[in-house]
């Protein structure tokens, strides 16, 4: 033990790279962004201190509120079906009698490893109203007579953006659910079977309650990740009247398209507050349930 005590300070060396890396590439940019959010700076002239002007503007920015709303809608539209689908598939694939489990798992997981940008482009091409295969298919089947201009409709734009995200994540969450299911000891099921519980009863009263920690993990990660939607929706565009523009898209456009860096910095902090708010609500709600 003696030697170990002498060596404890090595712990600092081992964790130092993390803290240095975080200070330089994580913390410093965040503080710099904060500093910029109190300036007026368009990249052409030197920054000028303007106090809280950017934040006042943010509070009155109906476009920012609209992006929060859009993000929430897309989040709900993508995550509700996504989680249900993932859980359903996990329950089915966890059954012993199903064959080809590995094949199905791999196929469902596949969209997840494709770059979100690529998925966004694929969907935008599929739903292109002049050349997209979806319209061609619908017209060939006689479901519609004229091509549907999907991205000219606020709700279709949002549904398509949600579909991309749902499609991308259900496989991943299914794997997480399967892992959770497999961590439930088989004795529990055996006991239930001995008590004469039906499959449905087992699922409702044993499996689901035991899955709750996994559920929480999935839910909280999807809140934090889901509110930062960017890559795929960017490829699909703003939608009519900006109805499918997400918060981070707005940040990107403000800072890196309009060169309003300082206002973009305020938007970044606005997003931060919104994300923290919803994460806190989720965390609180999950604790209330316990």
């Amino acid at each position: 033990m003696g030697s170990k005590i002498n060596k404890t300070h090595y712990g600092y060396y081992f964790i130092a790279p993390f803290f240095i890396g975080f200070a330089v590439f994580g913390l410093a940019p965040i503080l710099y962004t904060l500093y910029l959010s109190f300036m007026k700076w368009d990249g052409f002239n030197d920054p000028v201190y303007v106090g809280v002007a950017n934040y006042t503007r943010l509070l009155h920015d109906s476009f920012f509120y609209q992006t929060i709303w859009n993000t929430l809608i897309i989040w709900v539209l993508s995550n509700a079906p996504q989680l249900v689908l993932a859980l359903l598939l996990a329950l089915i694939l966890n059954e012993k009698f199903i064959r080809g489990k590995h094949f199905f798992r791999a196929v469902y997981f596949f969209p997840h490893i494709i770059t979100p940008v690529t998925l966004g482009v694929i969907f935008s091409l599929m739903f292109d109203w002049q050349t997209g295969s979806i319209n061609k298919l619908l017209m060939n089947l006689g479901i519609v007579n004229d091509p549907v201009n999907w991205f000219n409709s606020p709700w279709w734009s949002r549904v398509i953006a949600s579909a991309v995200i749902c499609w991308q994540y259900f496989g991943f969450n299914m794997i997480v659910f399967i892992a959770g299911l497999q961590s439930i000891p088989s004795e529990v099921y055996e006991a239930a079977e001995m008590d004469g519980a039906t499959k449905k009863q087992t699922a409702l009263h044993i499996t689901l309650p035991l899955l709750r920690p996994v559920f929480l993990f999935v839910f909280i990660t999807s809140v934090i990740g889901g509110l930062q939607l960017f890559d795929a929706p960017l490829m699909l565009g703003d939608g009519p009247g900006n109805t499918s523009r997400t918060m981070v898209m707005y940040l990107y456009q403000t800072a890196f398209k309009n060169f309003d860096y300082s206002y973009g910095a305020a938007v970044a902090y606005g997003i931060f507050i919104v994300v923290m708010f919803f994460t806190a609500i989720t965390a609180k709600a999950s604790r209330l349930k316990d």
């Binding site: 090595y10 965040i30 969209p111 940008v117 969907f123 890196f256």
Partner: protein, 273 residues
């Protein structure tokens, strides 16, 4: 009988979902082999013969293979950095009982809560003042700090790296870093593989950072090139589809060989997380 029907329905459901996962990719591939005039007018179900025409138009404007190589280079280097430093810190937290250890660990976990885009504007300006814009440094170096990786590695080191083996290393006269490099890292390799998969997929898909940091087309990464296809080939859909196919097919091939490992790794990481 009822059982057979239930089974049939379940399989049908599985197959339909599987088809919905694969059909868009099939459609991409088929469409990429047709001429623009056909893409605009017809529903395409079987491959055509225009792939190389489309490919040549794409190649003349976008050096997509270069993007592929760039992304691979960045991803491999960052994954190595990411995994190594996460293991180092995770091991440090696990095996050294230094002062403020728990407080520091909480700080590490706390950094996970910060949304990635919060500092992006400051990051851009800071990299500018460090003269690192249009280089790979801002894409690779930040991999040193990965809180999730440290968490994962600490869990693993707590449970699977015996303290005795470290002591015996010290007896043999190894330095602390040598012990880590020679003895601990090999023991931790299952966790390294899991984290490596996460890190690799995450970095491979990275989009916003390279988009704002890199300007030179020869340095650009694949996701940014794919994103720019739409604006560069406004009405040349054939070329766009070929770009998508090139981005997807290598990943498909890689995944079909590695799918078991990847999925197991993700499952392992998720349960730990």
């Amino acid at each position: 009988m009822a059982k057979v029907i239930t089974k049939g329905i379940l399989y049908l459901f599985l197959v339909i979902v599987a088809a919905s996962c694969l059909i868009p990719f099939y459609s991409m591939f088929v469409t990429s082999t047709h001429a623009n005039s056909d893409i605009a007018r017809k529903l395409l179900l079987i491959p055509g013969d225009q792939f190389f025409d489309n490919y040549n138009r794409l190649k003349d404007t976008v050096n997509i293979w270069r993007g592929f190589a760039n992304t691979l280079f960045i991803t491999v280097l960052s994954t190595i950095l990411n995994v190594y430093f996460a293991a180092l810190a995770g091991y440090g937290f696990s095996k050294y009982n230094f002062k403020y250890r728990n407080a520091l660990f909480v700080i590490v976990l706390g950094t996970m809560m910060i949304p990635g885009q919060l500092g992006i504007i400051g990051f851009f300006k800071l990299m500018d003042s460090l003269n690192m814009l249009n280089t790979y440094w801002p894409l690779i170096l930040p991999s040193i700090h990965n809180a999730f990786g440290i968490f994962l590695m600490r869990q693993f080191a707590d449970s699977s790296v015996p303290t005795e083996i470290i002591e015996s290393g010290r007896m043999d006269g190894y330095g602390e870093l040598q012990i880590f490099n020679r003895i601990v890292l090999p023991i931790m390799s299952p966790a390294l593989a899991t984290l490596g998969i996460f890190a690799f997929i995450g970095k491979w898909n990275d989009f916003l950072t390279p988009m704002i940091i890199l300007f030179d087309n020869n340095l650009q990464t694949l996701p940014v090139m794919i994103a720019s296809l739409k604006s560069q080939f406004t009405s040349d859909f054939g070329a766009q589809y070929v770009g998508i196919v090139i981005a997807v097919v290598p990943v498909l091939v890689f995944f079909s060989f590695m799918s078991k490992r990847i999925i197991d790794g993700v499952a392992a990481g998720a349960v730990k997380g």
